[in-house]
């Protein structure tokens, strides 16, 4: 087998391995060559573990040939966001502060993937400490968007978004505290899943805010996200029937609370119409105002984030990117009362969303209110990064999946978010598959 190996998804790779036409060695070599050719213009990887990947591929090739099959991830190459520990490699968090912080053991999520036979290709770029935005004052350059390299790829799992969209890896693991898996999925036209809070272990993942941090997969298709989640949590999601599923369309968030760009709103209407055409019962749902969630998310994130970084911000603040300092320092000025008030509000908002799920099986919302802006326009990044509807579900812990909803006039991905009850990721996958089929399958950027 040859040709477009780099566009194969996780499920397709598994079938090709077992059909005898492809081996892990051939796939890893093809991806390493593509990374070498394309990544200098994308900066998706901070570190490529060529030798480790080749050794793991050789072992997986022998195992599969001998019938020692560890399951759907056996021999599948995967990238890891560089806030997640991989034994023997530094977890730099894209920061000058941690260039030599070599991990002694794998994070639980990496260990789970390795136990399933996955091949770790290397560490992927992030916003520094998974906060802020693309910065040019860090030891590694910011990742760029394969759909248009002058634009940012979202973040903070920015390298994962770029690597997936460019066909450098078929899957990656990211972290999400206010949308950091779903933002790059939205900007890069891929699939990003923030699972239910604490469904995936955070052990070995450098924290940003303990109460809001989630770990989850980024893939190019919905089916691949389901395979990755099953490997991470050790259980398959049972198939769900979409006929008659009640979909609450949270229209007021992007129509009134934080008006989205017209093409974003039009694409969301297309998604709602496609779900209705497929037999779902779609109606408008009302949640608390988006700004109420955003404020509480911000206060908790800043307070917990400052607690994590207080010592370094006191002793060596000059080693952080300016954007990171700006994002973390407000937490210094928040009191215990502020934090505890925010935590009480978090509970109230969570109860409000739970109550809405008494009437719906899944919610359809905007993800980003705009397409990705230019990476060299800090004012526009500052304005547009906050124009999103992902943070609410870090607060509430409900599983949320972001994926492409269409393309802007400039040819950049637009996005939609689906949200389900806690533990009901299978419902997300079912609804997202309907939309994926209606779109004609996953879309790729204009590159070979």
């Amino acid at each position: 087998m040859s040709g477009d190996l780099h566009w194969l998804g996780v499920g397709e790779i598994g079938a090709a391995f077992r059909g005898g036409g492809l081996t892990p060695v051939a796939l890893v070599e093809a991806l390493l060559a593509r990374i070498e050719a394309l990544d200098p213009g994308l900066n998706a990887f901070i570190r490529v573990d060529s030798s480790g990947a080749r050794a793991a591929a050789a072992a997986a090739t022998l195992d599969l040939a001998a019938g020692r099959d560890l399951g759907p991830l056996h021999g599948v190459p995967i990238g890891i966001k560089d806030v997640i520990d991989v034994a023997g490699m530094p977890t730099t968090c894209h920061s000058q502060l941690r260039l030599d912080a070599v991990a002694e053991r794998d994070a639980d999520c990496v260990a789970a993937l390795r136990a399933g036979g996955a091949i770790i290709m290397g560490k992927l770029a992030t916003h520094e400490f998974a906060i802020g935005g693309p910065s040019f004052d860090l030891p590694f350059p910011p990742a760029r968007n394969p759909w248009n390299r002058d634009h940012h790829p979202g973040g903070s799992s920015s390298g994962a978004g770029a690597a997936l969209a460019a066909g450098l890896v078929p899957a990656a693991i990211g972290s999400d505290t206010a949308g950091s898996i779903r933002n790059p999925a939205s900007c890069c036209g891929i699939v990003g899943l923030k699972p239910t809070y604490e469904a995936v272990s955070r052990r070995g993942v450098f924290p940003l805010a303990w109460s809001l941090d989630h770990v989850g997969p980024l893939t190019r298709s919905v089916g691949d996200a389901a395979i990755m989640l099953a490997a991470l949590v050790g259980a398959d999601a049972a198939p769900i029937q979409t006929l008659g599923l009640r979909v609450g369309y949270v229209h007021h968030w992007h129509e009134y609370d934080m008006p989205a760009d017209p093409d974003v709103a039009a694409a969301l209407n297309d998604v709602a119409a496609a779900l209705a055409a497929a037999g779902a019962v779609v109606s408008y749902a009302t949640l608390p105002p988006l700004e109420a969630f955003a404020l509480v998310n911000r206060v908790i994130l800043q307070a917990e984030g400052f607690a994590i970084h207080a010592r370094d911000l006191r002793d060596r603040p000059d080693l952080y990117a300016a954007r990171t300092r700006s994002a973390l320092l407000p937490g210094a000025f928040l009191s215990a009362e502020d934090y505890l008030t925010a935590r009480r509000r978090q509970r109230q908002l969570t109860e409000a969303v739970d109550a809405v799920f008494g009437h719906y099986d899944v919610l359809l919302t905007a993800s980003s209110m705009t397409a990705a802006c230019r990476i060299d326009d800090p004012a526009e990044i500052e304005r547009t990064y906050m124009r999103q509807a992902r943070g609410p579900f870090n607060l509430t812990g409900h599983p949320a999946l972001a994926m492409m909803s269409g393309l802007s006039a400039d040819g950049l991905p637009l996005s939609v978010q689906f949200v389900a009850r806690r533990g009901a990721e299978a419902t997300l996958f079912a609804v997202a598959r309907v939309w994926e089929r209606a779109m004609g399958g996953p879309r790729r950027p204009p590159m070979p």
Partner: protein, 51 residues
Amino acid sequence: MTDEELAARVRVLGLEYAFAQFPEQLRAAAMLAAEEKVALGCVDDAGVEPA
């Protein structure tokens, strides 16, 4: 918040070195936090924390 009030607050927080290096960022952070306190309802409009 006056310069003196900010400097006093920074001393309490142990952020003197950061303040010396990045005074405008500290001031912006303090202002943002003050806005968030008001929005959360933790303080009244005069900035006084309720008992």
